[in-house]
């Protein structure tokens, strides 16, 4: 039974491996911490923008999974740093000998699995943002006027603050406001003929105007903001045709938010990739260090053959021994195979 990917490790390379592993482990811990910070930041941003994202949008899963993956990476880094530091001293390494195997299995399974899952989500989920934002912003626009309806009373304030902070207007442009009644009926004068005409001429009885809220105004405009009667060319006779775009924000909030969240997601994706690569290196290094030290009896400068490997025997042999181990437990019939497999079985619990 040949060990998988064996590597001969004399004294100097062993010490180098332990030292290099210590450095890599701290780098992994740093990368894990960065991932935690990035995913935390993204979670906070999503919480602030929760009004504008449809509840059915699954985008929020990404930072949660990344948070878990970052925690596991941080843990792996700290364990790796401790184990590699202890491996240089025989007395300190003794308590690590029993603990290292299950830790490696847990690290590979949990850490590797979570990181792969998170990376997959980073690639797949931003697409769902599009529809989520579309729906969420549409609802917010429709409820802008409902400042006294419980459950929607904050829509006006949140949408105004969104437009002021992200420099956007409406969903895809300022004309979205022309199709929504954003002035509450409470503030409409029922005796005003203009108001009555507008409501009667609309199929659904909505009061639609060609005006926008104040939060769409662009402070860079040289003239005081024009908010009302925007489609009437004679309403503002001195409107400067050279700078039509400076009066209001031209970008729609859908594009603005999409860009903002996608850039955050891509930053998170790059930190996850770096963490993933570092985690693979640290886990491999730890495995090689562990198997090399086992061959020497747990002392880094001990006598004996120093060979590190990934698995004591190939995959097929491992499965066979595991199967036969289970078979011996059920059938007491003596077979030669299990007796021969006894010594390599020692390697199994470690793998």
């Amino acid at each position: 039974m040949a060990p998988v990917l064996p590597l001969v490790l004399p004294l100097q390379p062993r010490i180098r491996l332990a030292q290099g592993l210590w450095l890599l482990s701290w780098l992994l811990a740093l990368a894990g911490g960065l991932t935690l910070l990035c995913s935390g930041h993204l979670l906070v941003q999503l919480w602030h923008l929760s009004t504008f994202l449809a509840p059915s949008c699954p985008f929020a899963i990404l930072p949660q999974v990344a948070l878990a993956a970052g925690t596991v990476a941080l843990g792996t880094g700290l364990v790796g740093a401790g184990a590699s530091r202890a491996s240089l001293d025989a007395a300190q390494y003794r308590p690590w000998r029993k603990v290292l195997s299950p830790l490696l299995v847990a690290g590979t399974a949990a850490g590797g699995g979570l990181l792969v899952f998170a990376l997959g989500l980073t690639l797949a989920l931003p697409g769902s943002l599009d529809t989520g934002l579309e729906e969420g912003l549409g609802t917010a626009l429709a409820h802008y006027k409902d400042t006294e309806v419980p459950g929607h009373c904050h829509a006006k304030r949140l949408l105004d603050e969104l437009q002021l902070r992200h420099h956007c207007c409406g969903r895809h442009g300022y004309k979205d406001w022309f199709g929504v009644q954003w002035v509450s009926s409470r503030y409409l004068d029922p005796s005003d003929q203009d108001v009555v005409d507008r409501i009667q001429s609309n199929v659904e009885g909505l009061y639609l105007i060609d005006g926008v809220p104040f939060s769409c105004c662009n402070p860079h405009s040289p003239r005081p903001c024009l908010q009302s009667r925007l489609s009437d060319p004679h309403a503002h006779p001195l409107f400067d045709p050279r700078q039509p775009s400076l009066n209001l924000w031209t970008q729609g909030c859908h594009a603005a938010l999409l860009g903002h969240l996608q850039s955050l997601a891509s930053t998170l994706g790059s930190t996850l990739t770096v963490t993933f690569m570092l985690q693979i290196l640290v886990l491999l290094g730890l495995r090689y260090l562990q198997t090399a030290l086992e061959g020497l009896g747990g002392v880094i400068d001990g006598e004996g053959e120093a060979q590190g490997y990934l698995f004591p025997s190939g995959l097929k042999d491992m499965l066979k021994t595991a199967w036969l181990q289970g078979g011996v437990a059920h059938r007491p019939a003596p077979e030669e195979a299990p007796a021969e497999e006894e010594p390599p079985k020692e390697g199994l619990p470690e793998a």
């Binding site: 400042t147 006294e148 009373c153 006006k156 304030r157 105004d160 603050e161 002021l164 954003w182 002035v183 509450s184 409470r186 503030y187 409409l188 004068d189 005003d192 809220p213 104040f214 939060s215 105004c217 402070p219 860079h220 040289p222 003239r223 005081p224 903001c225 908010q227 006779p237 001195l238």
Partner: protein, 346 residues
């Protein structure tokens, strides 16, 4: 009678030196923090120098920056001295410098305390600068085509949105200035002509405010024009309406922002000052304890450390005497130089 005498044996001296070494390096970190605080305050003041007439005083951030740098320098030097203090050979080369160095440290601590006081007291000058600056800023709001002032509208709008304020003391300040440029007034309209004629200076004043004064928390769409005319808007009473516009004036908002900034910086500097005083006292004890080692061959012997060799009044008298002697010897030297005779020391 020495002031605050403390007995030191070898172990205690070593512990004192090690503790002082650590404290000095922590103090270097504190110096870096003070430097960055000063830099941050300078940048914040520069960002809004437009509304402060470009005449704001940068004394506080400049002095914080200088104090931070000095603190780093002095404390790293003191750390080196404490490190060498345990080795008699290395300490011998520092010995003659220690007394003047301690004097410089005392002066530095006094200066740091003065800077801390300044952090808390600069409020008054900032208030008057802000009042003038904002008044001018609002005056130039409409001059978006005058070079040198074309950015004032954008600055004031962004300021009012960010600090949630309107006008200098309140939104009524906008009623007293013409903030709509003549370029955008339709002079063929009767209403415009009436307003301009009825004003003494020929200005177009409205009872309206720019859009940046609007409060997003208001339940109704923002009312910007005809603010004092109740009949112009349905179900509107300008006396009781509170949420429509920001109620704070920008002067008060900016003042409270900068005050809180400088107060917190003052608090941090005060803590650092206390830390520095502790270090100076510790250094003085180490100095006198090492001086008091009577037998240089036996490093294990006990010695005494004190703050002042004699009591405070005696030390002050001795200090004045030495000043007088210095003055007398100068005088005698000058006379001797005139007479061409070598003077006798007084």
């Amino acid at each position: 009678m020495a002031l605050l005498k403390v007995k030191f044996d070898q172990k205690k001296r070593v512990k004192l030196a090690q503790g002082l070494w650590l404290m000095n390096w922590l103090s270097v970190l504190a110096g870096i923090i003070i430097f960055s605080l000063g830099l941050f305050l300078k940048i914040e003041l520069r960002k809004r120098s437009d509304v402060m007439n470009n005449s704001e005083s940068h004394f506080v951030p400049n002095s914080l920056i200088v104090m931070g740098v000095l603190s780093c320098v002095f404390n790293s030097l003191a750390g080196k001295i404490c490190y060498d203090a345990l080795d008699p050979a290395k300490y011998a080369k520092w010995k003659p410098w220690l007394k003047p160095y301690l004097a410089v440290c005392v002066l530095f601590n006094i200066a740091l305390f003065l800077v801390t006081l300044c952090c808390f007291l600069m409020r008054g000058s900032l208030e008057s600068t802000l009042a003038h600056g904002l008044k001018n800023g609002m005056k130039y709001y409409r001059d978006t085509d005058t070079p040198g002032r074309c950015f004032m509208k954008k600055t004031i709008d962004l300021l009012q949105i960010e600090f949630k304020c309107c006008g200098n003391n309140g939104f009524r300040d906008w009623f007293e200035i013409q903030w709509i440029s003549n370029r955008y007034l339709d002079f063929s309209s009767k209403e415009v002509k009436d307003r301009i004629k009825s004003n003494v200076d020929g200005r177009y004043l409205v009872d309206g405010v720019p859009f940046s004064c609007c409060n997003p928390s208001s339940p109704r769409p923002c009312i910007q024009y005809q603010l004092t005319n109740n009949s112009a808007h349905y179900s509107y009473d300008h006396q009781t309406e509170e949420l429509n516009l920001w109620v704070n004036g920008c002067r008060a908002a900016l003042l409270s922002y900068y005050s809180s900034l400088m107060n917190s910086m003052g608090a941090v500097t005060l803590l650092v000052w206390l830390f520095e005083v502790t270090i100076t006292i510790g250094l003085r004890y180490l100095h006198t304890a090492l001086e008091g080692v009577s037998n240089p061959e036996d490093p294990e012997c006990e010695s005494e450390g004190w703050l002042l060799e004699k009591s405070v009044s005696e030390t002050w008298k001795a200090f004045l005497e030495s000043l007088k002697k210095l003055g007398k010897s100068n005088q005698v030297e000058a006379e001797g130089a005139d007479a061409g005779q070598a003077p006798e020391a007084g």
